[in-house]
Symmetry: C2
Subunit: 209 residues, 2 copies
DNA sequence: CGTTTGTTTGACCGATTGGTCAAATCGAGG
DNA sequence: CCTCGATTTGACCAATCGGTCAAACAAACG
């Protein structure tokens, strides 16, 4: 019996089969957790989705909690990167529009990740509240200061910087988290091209001085 | 043994105690379902929250499903009313801003209802998809036509009418569904006054011709 | 080929789940 | 005070939950 690394990422020491199975489990966990939330998800469903027996799944991850935790920690960085990438020395309107586009692309390409995050927040963020009050808050305060500077310099129209960031989050994640509703209203087509054009219009009118 | 109405609302025939207990159960169910989702919620927790024993709860509602269903059906109307109330004969910008304010007030005053709805959509809307594809879709199409008319008459700036409605939903519900995140970033104060001012600015710049 | 190490599974466990039921308790009317 | 229906509860049930374990199986290697 090999006590497979219950902690972090010495992926080097893992065999091919270990990497593949753990990846399959994370993939399945992402699907199930993002639909049902942590409490609603069951190991049986995750195991079935991953094509493994339940004891076999528990051979690779020590608990349901461990799968969920690894998914969440991986997520936060992906989630904050687009905001981090806003360049304080760039052209303000372009930088902010590019941020919106990156965030919308994330919603389009990683809807399950978006819903996993939404589920965690809806449940009161019991597992990532510290990260929200730490990393996230600091990053937002930092970028809000940059935006405020742009406003003071008259390079974008005055707007509450933090609520501007909230608006970007709300508008982009809506297309991932509420996609069932979006499709119920719009029909079968891909809503993203129009969404992109709409958000471009919205933020351009909001920000252009 | 009285077989308490398992169907709809002859509230007239109910005694005071029946009305009170059923109300307490719905209240508790709203709290629990909105936090944990349908699968994650347990009858034990709902019963505890309502101050009842589990068998006593099941004396008033025949199943977990029944509580959830009654909450959801009651919800949809509350949710659509603000959009219904948009007056096709009013002043366009005022009407739409009033809609935004009504929807934000809903998020402020009924956050649990908002989260219950969000949970249902996140899970794929298994219980209200028909209503979304029916009532909701028709209402949105109807109001989108009104907005399009306003655009054609040059009374508001051109904008995709359906995505405009999505934007109102996304921006207002964000403050209810993600309030933990909002508070993590902003600190303890009440975010709604600033949110209201921000959304007023946003939609005024977007819509003013 | 045998051994050792890594992988998979069937059987099982205690706890919790949604739900039942008969018996106990309450409360209003006679 | 008695009665009868309304309400409440303790005990219980089958199913499912997260998780364990020993045994079976597979793979690598000398």
């Amino acid at each position: 019996m090999t006590d497979i690394n219950a902690g972090q990422e010495p992926e080097q020491t893992m065999t091919r089969i270990q990497r593949e199975k753990r990846e399959a489990i994370l993939e399945a966990g992402l699907t199930v957790f993002s639909q049902e939330g942590f409490r609603g998800a069951t190991l049986d469903r995750i195991a079935a989705e991953a094509g493994l027996s339940k004891p076999n799944l528990l051979y690779y991850y020590p608990s349901k909690e461990a799968i969920h935790e690894e998914l969440l920690t991986g997520l936060l960085h992906t989630w904050l990167d687009p905001l981090k990438a806003v360049n304080p020395n760039g052209e303000p309107v372009d930088e902010l529009l590019a941020y919106v586009h990156r965030k919308l692309a994330l919603a389009r390409d990683f809807p399950r990740e978006s819903r996993l995050f939404a589920n965690e927040i809806l449940q009161g963020a019991p597992r990532i509240l510290p990260a929200l009050e730490g990393e996230l808050r600091e990053l937002v305060e930092d970028r809000a200061a940059v935006i405020q500077r742009w406003i003071d310099e008259g390079r974008i129209a005055p707007v509450d910087p933090v609520h501007l960031i909230f608006s970007v989050w709300a508008l982009t994640q809506h297309y991932a988290d509420f996609d069932v509703q979006v499709h119920a209203v719009l029909g079968a087509g891909d809503p993203f091209p129009r969404a992109e054009a709409h958000l471009e219009t919205l933020f351009r009118r909001l920000l252009t001085p």
